[in-house]
Symmetry: C2
Subunit: 394 residues, 2 copies
């Protein structure tokens, strides 16, 4: 029998791979100014510290780090994580456990595995992060968008849809959302925690950009308002230490965490101990907070440069004005199509992600997402002008 | 609503976590002689080389290693892998692609994700590796055991069961199998490749122990007989470099590999670049083959010590006589129950894994799996005598 006739599992029906990751491949072209990714800036990657730390942890505890470890995590990392993440994110560590994950991508997968049967509904922001939409679709979940604005999910619409759809999960990126950069308001955070308990729905609070704030006041996490155990916090070190190390974590009440541990046994047994050990050491040496402080200024300048350019672009009808994170979301005049315009932009050596990919139901063809963390302010000025030219010629 | 009333996904019905990993937790007791794990010996973990290599790769390519990478793999590792694994395992690299995985545990998960709908049948050895049985059960597969003997799967029974059950996958650990230590014969390897093509069934060839041969002649992989693309090779560096680094790979024809890449996007985006880079460097420096050669002598002595002790044990009715790997599988007299005897053994400071966990349909309560790679020859002598005492008192 010819292998071309192989029958793949039904979960792949309609799933074709992440549009963003395909766009990434175009970006190898020399001279490309990329607003497409979600990559930290090179300056934000602590390669010198990590070269030293990697060697030291392997010298100190190499036989344990190279051996099999527990699915539940490398003990020194667990200790560092509890001490750091508890107070930092307002997580009650007496009521919640933590599980190291291979990036928060895996945290999401474990949670989907624990909760979602085919056909179950997940309520999501509109638009939302396409990578996790793909994960949800591979679990054959039904994605229902909740009306969202500059302050995140409209919680009245959320409650209506909880009543209408009986969802198993509410997925939110409350702080400097991907793709919009918008932040969920304080009252809405409290209300989401209350609705989760009232209706018995798990909230997946995905908060990787939490610490990348360049203006305004820090807001407490939804998890900090969670008294009943329905909120799961997905944390990540990708945006504040390194995405290539693939270290994130999940904080949840013990019963749900246990299912995630079992799912992780079948997923990758445990997260690489070396990268767990390196994150532990980075935290316990007190390097994390100063490192974050050291990168905020550069990111703020990049964001403000991009916002300044956007304000001059005649082709851009509207755009979000984030207080942090990595992304700005913008709209062209109705009738313009960001997907069709992308090849012309790439020809001019500038790239973005068409916004339609972030909408659970598609459409919104005139929108696009811009990332400002990878390009320098000069590249941002140049790239945005190239974009303006591209759009003006459409 | 109380979070205790949370409804978990149906895939967890009847799945309670890996029995082995729960047993592992007992082993922290000081003085315990463990025959329970599958851990490489401490001597087999190249911690000094790796401390140096980690620092060097981070100095040389740190900004790339700490940044997001492609799901498809870190380019220097892909290159090293193609150059090494192609000739080493007889994989035709013009017809197959490779994908780095976060341990071969993840390779299995990606393959299950690509192929298995709930209710699909997977044919497995009897007994087989319990970790991957758990993964299969989380995909709600139906596991059907194929009669197996000292030369692995009986291929006549395999063909009968292919006709009867129309499986989507055949799962085999052909070399120094877990838990039996037995090796699939040459003619059976050829026949499995032929049956896969004839009936259009994917073969998952899980071969992590391939290089740990202490006697006899190396056999070609099933994949080396695969002309049609139905065989997927799951490779691992866990047993020859380090399990804690979580680096494995999957070799498959391009169409199937593509589905695994998409599944991996949702699983952990990519394997940690640092551990990929370290494996790449270890291979390209020519350290891997000499390292494997350096560990074989110790493992052979451990295995032979255990076999020698087994030959003296009056309570043991039969046991396998492997030519390599990490495990020996043994049977007590009928009527004795290895699960019930385990707490008594642990009380005497010696542990094993009851064999029943490795049988898809359970039963075989008089069997148990012994690992010989973690304990020293002296510990093996002492531990086996403690086991003999335990069993004799039953």
């Amino acid at each position: 029998m010819n292998v071309k006739d192989i029958r793949f599992a039904e979960r792949f029906d309609g799933v074709t791979g992440s549009a963003i990751r395909e766009i990434f491949k175009l970006l190898a072209k020399p001279g490309m100014i990329s607003f497409a990714g979600g990559n930290p800036s090179e300056a934000a990657l602590p390669d010198e510290d990590m070269a030293q730390i990697a060697a030291e942890v392997l010298k100190k505890d190499g036989k344990r780090i190279l051996q099999y470890g527990a699915t539940e995590g490398y003990p020194p990392f667990l200790e560092a994580l509890r001490g750091y993440a508890g107070p930092h994110f307002g997580i009650d560590m007496s009521a919640n456990g933590v599980l190291p994950t291979t990036g928060s991508t895996q945290g999401m997968q474990l949670l989907l595995s624990a909760l979602i049967n085919p056909g179950d509904t997940i309520l999501v922001e509109d638009p939302t992060f396409l990578g996790n939409m793909q994960s949800m679709r591979l679990f054959r979940a039904k994605l229902v968008p909740v009306n969202s604005d500059g302050e995140g999910m409209d919680t009245d619409d959320l409650e209506r849809k909880i009543r209408a759809y009986h969802p198993r999960m509410i997925y939110t990126i409350p702080t400097f959302q991907n793709p919009t950069g918008c932040t969920l308001g304080l009252e809405r955070r409290k209300r989401i925690a209350a609705l989760a308990e009232e209706y018995g729905v798990v909230v997946a609070e995905d908060d990787p950009y939490h610490d990348l704030r360049y203006a305004g006041q820090e807001l407490p996490t939804i998890k900090s308002f969670d008294k009943a155990g329905w909120v799961v916090f997905l944390g990540s070190f990708s945006k504040v230490i390194s995405p290539g190390m693939r270290v994130g974590f999940l904080a949840a009440e013990p019963g749900l965490l246990r299912k995630c541990v079992i799912a992780k046994q079948a997923s990758d047994l445990h997260t690489a101990l070396l990268t767990q050990a390196m994150c532990a050491e980075y935290i316990t040496r007190g390097l994390l907070d100063p490192h974050i402080q050291s990168i905020l200024g550069g990111y703020a300048e990049q964001m403000n440069t991009m916002l300044d350019e956007l304000s001059r672009m005649k082709t851009v009808r509207s755009y979000t004005k984030p207080e942090g994170g990595l992304f700005i979301f913008a709209s062209l005049d109705e009738g313009l199509n960001a997907t069709q315009l992308l090849p012309r932009a790439v020809e001019k050596n500038v790239a973005y992600v068409p916004g339609t990919h972030f909408y659970p139901d598609g459409g919104h063809e005139n929108t696009f997402r811009l990332n400002f963390s990878k390009a320098s302010p000069e590249e941002i000025r140049r790239g945005m002008r190239l974009l303006d030219e591209t759009f003006a010629q459409a």
